[in-house]
Amino acid sequence: MEEKIIEVNFGPQHPSTHGVLRLKVKLKGETVLSAEPIIGYLHRNAEKLSEFNYYASNTVFMDRLDYVGNHNMELGYVMAVEKLADIDVPERAVWLRMLFVELNRIASHLVWAGTMGLDLGMITPFFYTFRERERILQLFEMVSGARLTYNYISIGGVYNDLPNEFDAKFNEFVEDFSSRLKEIESLFKENEVFIQRMKGIGILPPEVAKSYSITGPVLRASGVNYDIRKVSPYLYYDKVDFDIPVSNGMDNYARFEVRFREMEQSLRIVKQVYGKLPTGEYQNPLYRKSGLINIKGKGESYVRTESPRGEFGVYVVGDGSKKPYRVRIRSPAFQNLSATNEMVKGSKIADMIATISTLDPVFGEVDR
């Protein structure tokens, strides 16, 4: 008997495509023959819009790229502009940036952990991870005044200093977060059904990962020790003590483990940074108030940072005016997503969903 090949559209309205991913899937029974990701449903023109706005206003658009790791997006852009216009950043501002970027990495991975649970049919971990994320968001709101689109990192520093009540809340968070994290991890880690769903699924060998220029936790789970924070340290990453978690598993389980280890390392960084926080200016006084609008740059600059999803690069070209000539964004989630077909070919439908969830795409960033 001949088996019919059916073609199914997964998404863009599908509960587990993390937003608006559309997958054109060829199925033979339950087996996936090929999956072609189709993107562009969340395109908001961030790169082009940036050409019509002042350098300082563009952080607003960067916020909306990766909406679960916003601080990282702002940071990449702001650093590119600072490099272009040769702007000094006070020491305290750099430490503050690092503090929030790492907190944001934890928050982003928590969102990932919860949604991964949902994709596998576990409802409960989602609530626990979002409960923890909520505490981080409260810290962010306390500082920046917003819960999602912070617009906190400004060119030449940060917009606000820490408020007085930050200290108590922060310590409270740091104190029990690692135990809470262990608790959340224990829901997955030893669960036999979970292991069965993750181990050996979505194999991504290092050569393939490199050829697709995959970065971030996905690459590190394939056994390649590559992290911008170590390879070319920015901010003060060379002044803090942390490890890059690497796993040789190459599968979904390895990606799961790497992300949880990364949260622990980020917590380690956050603790050190908060201890080292110097007093002083939090913003370059030249670029405060009306100075914000007078940022000019000529030439080009490229800065790469390690966002929660991988290498986030921003390329800014200035023509000497107050607005950038061109802003180009190298989005890690976009690059990671390109390997989907390679990873899900020949697996089952359920494995495809699990694999996409461990790639952790965020579509604000993929479509830009």
Partner: protein
């Protein structure tokens, strides 16, 4: 064989003894509501000098300058910012750029209204935080 499953179930069961973290918003106040919360834009007409920096930096062009007949001595052309609340993203850049601190974002996040006039002209912007408690 089922040790991990039982362990997971035990962790989940342990949570039944913990207190819910839900905040029932309209009845309960949000406990983490901070002073810096970026809500409705407000304008101090008396200190605004009409420099139009806020309308320049606004990324969505929701902040724009309009003529408004109000004399404060420093604003000779009598142009004041108006904000289209429909497109405003509450990014706070107008507050950051304002040299006199006239335009800023209040704590008020309850912006629902029955009207469709999203363009808040200077008279509607110029509320103090006290006034915002009784909604217009």
């Amino acid at each position: 064989m089922v040790k991990g499953i039982l362990k997971g179930m035990f962790v989940v069961l342990k949570h039944s003894r913990r207190k819910p973290v839900t905040v029932q918003y309209p009845e309960e106040a949000i406990p983490w509501h901070t002073k810096r919360f970026r809500g409705r834009v407000i304008l101090n007409l008396d200190t605004c000098i009409g420099c139009s920096l806020c309308s320049q930096i606004c990324p969505n062009e929701s902040d724009h300058m309009v003529y408004y007949d109000y004399e404060n001595g420093k604003n000779r052309k009598k142009i004041y910012p108006a904000v289209n609340i429909g497109t405003c993203t509450y990014c706070g850049l107008c507050q950051a750029v304002c040299p006199t601190g006239s335009i800023r974002l209040s704590n008020d996040g309850t912006l629902a209204s029955f009207g469709k006039d999203f363009d808040y002209l200077p008279d509607r912007l110029s509320r103090t935080e006290e006034e915002l408690k009784h909604h217009d």
